[in-house]
């Protein structure tokens, strides 16, 4: 899932400076699952903002709401109040939700309440760890299921580098060496041949090197795609 965490409060205060009426909008998708951007978190952030405004003697009304997903236009129909009635909507969806909502409501100031960080698995209660970086060219087949892009701090495709130190990464000694994990995993699978095979250089066009990526399913599109 996509993980996002709340922005520092000071940044939120700055964004909302001068607003009299604000809607904090949660998203029922990934950010609910990672317990940072659901209706409950929208409710609590609204509560914090109201308390802060009252303490500062500012007249600010902060409401909250949440919809199933902010990255789908149909769900905006379920909003309880019109976004245009607010000076700003503080979205606590991931960046996709914020951006998409902003596009859907051109006259509404939609502000990001979150920093979208990573694609994660929920490894333990309250912990979401990065497992994928969306590079567009999945290599897990020959890395024993361990992603070198996500798990190696240098995203090397031919590891290890020289900086592994007792299984830890030289960039972040808290972090396990991704390539050592790949090695151990392939060894366990008796597939160390994969490790010994030199891989070609990465093609960054599948990643971020070729502009905005989009998925187009011809069988589902209503008109010819690619006209834009």
């Amino acid at each position: 899932m996509i993980v996002a965490e709340r922005k520092p409060m000071d940044e939120i205060f700055q964004m909302l400076a001068g607003c009299k009426k604000v809607l904090v909008l949660g998203c029922g998708g990934c950010v609910t699952v990672c317990l940072t951007g659901g209706e409950r978190q929208a409710e609590m952030l609204a509560s914090q903002l109201n308390l802060a405004a009252k303490a500062k003697g500012e007249a600010m009304q902060v409401d909250f709401d949440s919809i199933t997903r902010q990255c789908e236009k149909e769900f905006f129909d379920n909003l309880s109040e019109a976004p245009a009635d607010y000076d700003a909507v503080l979205s606590i969806a991931c960046g996709a939700g914020v951006g998409y909502m902003s596009e859907q409501f051109p006259k509404v100031t939609v502000l990001p309440g979150m920093n979208t960080t990573h694609l994660a698995a929920n490894v333990a209660l309250g912990i979401w760890e990065e497992y994928c970086r969306g590079c567009g060219d999945c290599m897990l087949a020959w890395t024993g299921g361990v992603c070198p892009i996500a798990k190696c701090s240098k995203s090397l495709v031919n590891g290890t580098c020289g900086g592994t130190d007792k299984g830890k990464c030289e960039v972040n000694p808290e972090m396990n060496c991704g390539w050592l994990m790949i090695y151990e995993r392939l060894k366990e699978l008796d597939r160390l041949d994969e490790y010994r095979t030199m891989r070609p250089l990465r093609d960054h066009r599948t990643d971020r090197g070729n502009g905005v990526r989009r998925l187009v399913l011809a069988e589902m599109t209503e008109e010819e795609a690619g006209d834009e």
Binding site: G28, T32, G38, R40, E43, Q48, K54, A55
Partner: protein, 698 residues
């Protein structure tokens, strides 16, 4: 489990989520003949709201005080706590709240009582229950009773050591206060006929005379004046016409009435033998009644049948008996067989026949009512009507012999029938009930905190037989609340709003009882949910609601209490009430801390971080979360989760410059009032910066 998914749209239609509890009943309510909201009144008692609890009992149960003493309590037999340790002592808690409130129980009279006059024959539980229901609707009921007092068998035959007379008067006076007229000493069929009643303008008559005659056996010698019908014997004792029972009494019969007679005769100073056809396991008396009789020195003689009352001149000298070889046939039907070669004479000078009661149909005299070929009143159980459409019947005269609460239920149903009849509608009564909740699964039962049932003190047997004073003592308030807090709030727990659920698994992970299952969305089985509220407090989607409480409603009440504070200090202490004194949760404390609202919850498991923030929004200057220590809370992990939520809120407050110290956590609620009060007072000082926060609480 619900047969249909619940959505937020459904909930928007409800006035309160409590409506959900109407769709599925806890077994205590389901199995209660009058379907009293047992869970509801036990919960109120647990909170020390005794008067509210008593009023809730009386909403459904007219003989509340009587049933607090003598009910056969199917609620307890079906209590889901039986799977954990022992049933909640519902009857004792009911006795406590009803007798505490007593005649001050709220009387809600009909706005106008101008509907038809209805005559009710018999002031026992059935007749009185019907009279109350009719008065509540607006009819003008009059109860005719052959005895000088109202109450029926409970007032005339049940011995006062089991049921003191003032307890019965609490119920009957309360019923009369609803606009029920009473005519004592009026035996219908003798002093007045049913035709007379109709001539007096009663538009309907309800026969609720019960089983007023004792069954007798046509034994040789049984017409002797010291062969006493059991009801005559018990009634004479009740009305202080103490019969001469001699020194050696033989009670024939193995039921509860026989036990009452035997124990009463013991109190009159006689040696008592109770003889029955059955063996110890077969005899129909309750085990406790047999045990108490045994403790009081009643001798039992099992599997003997009476043959002849032996006389010497005009004196009874014994009973000739024969051995019983079987009581029931292969199909379990009563069909005794005897061995006439095994005869035995049992010495006695008085015999009490307690082999059952039978209806007395004297009221038929002077009416067009008919009886069937077996001498039973002609009666339609669906409509309660007799052979005359305006004459109805209810209670034991037309049902099998039963308990007071069953008679009340029959009376209430008859009142519905009379109302339908008198308002010109078809008498069609829907007896369908909502489904009940299954037994608790063993895996869940294992995780529930075990708490031994609180008994009541009982007088020693040697003291008991010297008097007719009550033998079971009442709870004191602190024991009553503790016993009530053993209730597991069955059916009051979590409901998932499927349209909001994101299947995030948080409920599954925080539930101390491993109840939620997440498939497409979270599913929380109501028969397993323990209503701790953990998942409700921690759900990120606000997708779980409670059936038995609403955080929004609770918050409105807290806000009102904050507003009522006059000083600068406006602190709310959320206190785990599981160990708190009755006065604390009941709101009658004498040692409150100035400027501190104490808000009690069954556990801190249900208090969310959002509610703490909302409490500050509502005007509180600080919040103290007063949890139990781990292990003392009724729900595992509750103190731990509460502490984590407090830590979260403190960080959120820090971020906005309001200061973490506004929210304090103390784990002390299980250490007694004095320690709890001291910890709250200190926490309040910390909130106001009067005392530095200790490193520990940082």
């Amino acid at each position: 489990m619900r047969d249909r998914d619940l959505t937020s749209a459904d909930v928007a239609e409800f006035a309160s989520p409590r409506e959900l509890m109407e769709a599925e009943w806890a077994p205590c309510r389901y199995h209660c003949p009058v379907h009293a909201d047992v869970r509801g009144y036990i919960e109120l008692a647990a909170r020390g709201q005794f008067e509210a609890a008593a009023n809730l009992v009386r909403d459904c149960l007219p003989f509340a005080s009587v049933c607090g003493r003598i009910c056969h309590h199917p609620c307890e037999a079906n209590c889901r706590r039986c799977e954990v340790d022992q049933a909640v002592a519902v009857r004792e808690v009911k006795r406590f709240v009803c007798e505490l409130t007593g005649v001050r129980a709220a009387v809600h009279k009909a706005d106008k009582q101008d509907l038809a006059k209805v005559a009710i024959v018999g002031a026992g539980p059935a007749g009185m229950a019907a009279a109350l229901e009719l008065a509540r609707i607006g009819y003008r009921p009059t109860v005719f009773e052959k005895f000088p007092v109202a109450g029926g068998i409970p007032a005339t035959a049940i011995p006062s050591y089991r049921l003191p007379r003032d307890v019965i008067r609490q119920d009957t006076d309360w019923i009369f206060a609803h606009g029920v007229d009473f005519v004592p000493n009026c035996d219908i069929g003798k002093d007045k006929t049913i035709a007379d009643l109709e001539a007096e303008g009663f538009e309907a008559v309800l026969i609720a005379t019960g089983l007023a005659d004792s069954r007798m056996l046509p034994l040789p010698g049984a017409d002797h004046k010291r062969v006493l019908p059991v009801l005559t014997f018990l009634t004479d004792v009740s009305f202080d016409r103490t019969p001469d029972v001699g020194a050696n009494v033989l009670v024939i019969g193995g039921g509860n009435v026989a036990m009452d007679a035997a124990r009463t005769a013991r109190r009159l100073g006689a040696q008592v033998t109770a003889m029955c056809l059955e063996n110890e396991e077969e005899m129909p008396a309750w085990d406790w009644e047999r045990d108490e009789a045994d403790e009081e020195g009643v001798t039992f003689l099992f599997r003997r049948g009476p043959v002849e009352v032996l006389l010497d001149g005009d004196k009874i000298v014994g009973m000739k008996t024969r051995k019983v070889t079987r009581v029931f046939d292969g199909e379990g039907k009563f069909s005794p067989e005897y061995d006439d070669n095994d005869l035995q004479n049992i010495p006695c000078d008085t015999v009490i026949m307690a082999i059952g009661q039978t209806a007395n149909l004297n009221f038929i005299e002077g009416s067009d009512l008919t009886a069937d070929d077996r001498g039973r009143l002609t009666y339609d159980s669906a409509t309660h009507q007799t052979s005359l459409p305006e004459v109805f019947a209810c209670g034991e005269i037309v049902t099998a012999p039963g308990s007071a609460v069953e008679a009340c239920a029959s009376g209430q149903r008859a009142a519905k029938a009379i109302d339908l009849y008198l308002s010109g509608r078809t008498i069609q009564i829907d007896d369908a009930l909502p489904p009940t909740i299954d037994k608790i699964a063993p895996a869940t039962a294992e995780k529930v905190l075990k708490v031994e049932r609180y008994g009541v003190d009982t007088e020693q047997p040697e003291m008991r037989i010297t008097t007719f004073d009550e033998i079971d003592h009442n709870y004191d308030p602190e024991i009553a609340v503790r016993e009530a807090r053993r209730c597991m709030s069955c059916g009051g727990g979590a409901e998932v709003l499927v349209d909001k659920c994101a299947a995030c698994l948080t409920c599954l992970r925080v539930c101390p009882f491993d109840i939620p299952v997440v498939t497409d969305v979270a599913r929380i089985e109501s028969s397993l949910c323990q209503a701790c509220g953990m998942c409700i407090a921690d759900c990120p989607a606000n997708a779980i609601i409670a059936r038995s409480w609403s955080p929004e409603e609770d918050l409105r009440q807290v806000a009102a209490k904050i507003n009522a504070l006059t000083g600068e200090r406006k602190i709310v202490a959320y206190v785990c009430g599981h160990h708190s004194p009755a006065t604390a949760w009941g709101g009658t404390l004498e040692d409150t801390i100035p400027g501190v609202v104490e808000e009690y919850l069954p556990s801190m498991s249900r208090l969310s971080a959002a509610e703490i923030l909302h409490t500050l929004e509502a005007g509180a200057t600080g919040v103290i979360v007063v949890a139990c220590n781990e292990g003392a809370d009724r729900y595992p992990t509750a103190p731990l989760r509460a502490a984590k939520r407090v830590e979260q809120v403190r960080e959120l407050l820090d971020e906005i410059g309001l200061g973490a110290e506004r929210v304090q956590y103390v784990a002390v609620a299980d250490r007694g009032r004095a320690a709890t009060r001291e910890a709250m007072a200190e926490a309040a000082d910390r909130i106001e910066g009067k005392v530095q926060e200790s490193v520990e609480s940082e």
